[in-house]
């Protein structure tokens, strides 16, 4: 059951990768990276259930926090000087 969800998440990862590669502006690439990180969190959780080791959820929690920090850090780089 979880492998079906994992396959769906991997297909959507491929679609997000396509947008990240051909995005016209840099913001499209940042958005695609953000979606990729969310899908990576979901696939980590599903992979933990597929292999019967739900300890992977700790890595997923950590990756969610890193996702926010990474996105905000890249966006602060884009308009420096304003709060």
């Amino acid at each position: 059951m979880f492998s079906v969800g994992l396959i769906a998440v991997l297909v959507s990862l491929v679609l997000a990768m396509v947008r990240a590669i051909m995005g016209p502006s840099m913001f499209d690439r940042v958005l695609a990276a953000n979606s990729t990180a969310t899908l990576a969190v979901l696939s980590l959780s599903l992979l933990g259930f597929v292999t019967g080791r739900p300890d992977f959820l700790d890595i997923a929690i950590l990756y969610t926090l890193l996702n926010l920090v990474g996105t905000i850090a890249v966006l602060k780089y884009f308009h420096p000087g304003e709060s």
Binding site: F2, G5, A8, S12, F27, L31, S45, L65, L68, L75
Partner: protein, 112 residues
């Protein structure tokens, strides 16, 4: 009872996967940055929500469910913050939304 929980979990995981694919198709095919934000938010709320609900039904009342709820709460907190910061940075960088009827009068919020 167990077969009922299994059926509900199956349905929820399949719906979550379908919503993930729908959101990413929207991220690929929508014409504008600000509409692609909408496609991304479909994956972040409905896709993640249904997938995590299906996993939580399978693991029952345990520490795993608590971790899954924490993950979903973190996604719900951080994803709107990231997309709002992205939209504001794009407006400041001068990317105009694609409009059929311009009701802003040439003035876009965020620009002075």
């Amino acid at each position: 009872m167990a077969i009922f929980i299994d059926i509900l979990s199956w349905a929820s995981i399949i719906i979550g996967g379908v919503f993930c694919i729908i959101g990413m198709i929207g991220l690929m095919r929508l014409p504008d940055l600000f509409t692609r934000l909408h496609g991304s938010s479909v994956t972040d709320t409905l896709g993640a929500g249904f997938l995590i609900f299906g996993m939580a039904l399978q693991s029952g009342l345990s520490l795993t469910t608590a971790k899954l709820i924490i993950i979903f709460g973190l996604i719900l907190l951080t994803s709107p913050v990231a997309t709002h910061a992205l939209a504001q940075a794009a407006l400041h960088a001068g990317i105009k939304p694609k409009l059929t009827v311009d009701k802003t009068g040439g003035h876009i919020a965020g620009e002075d």
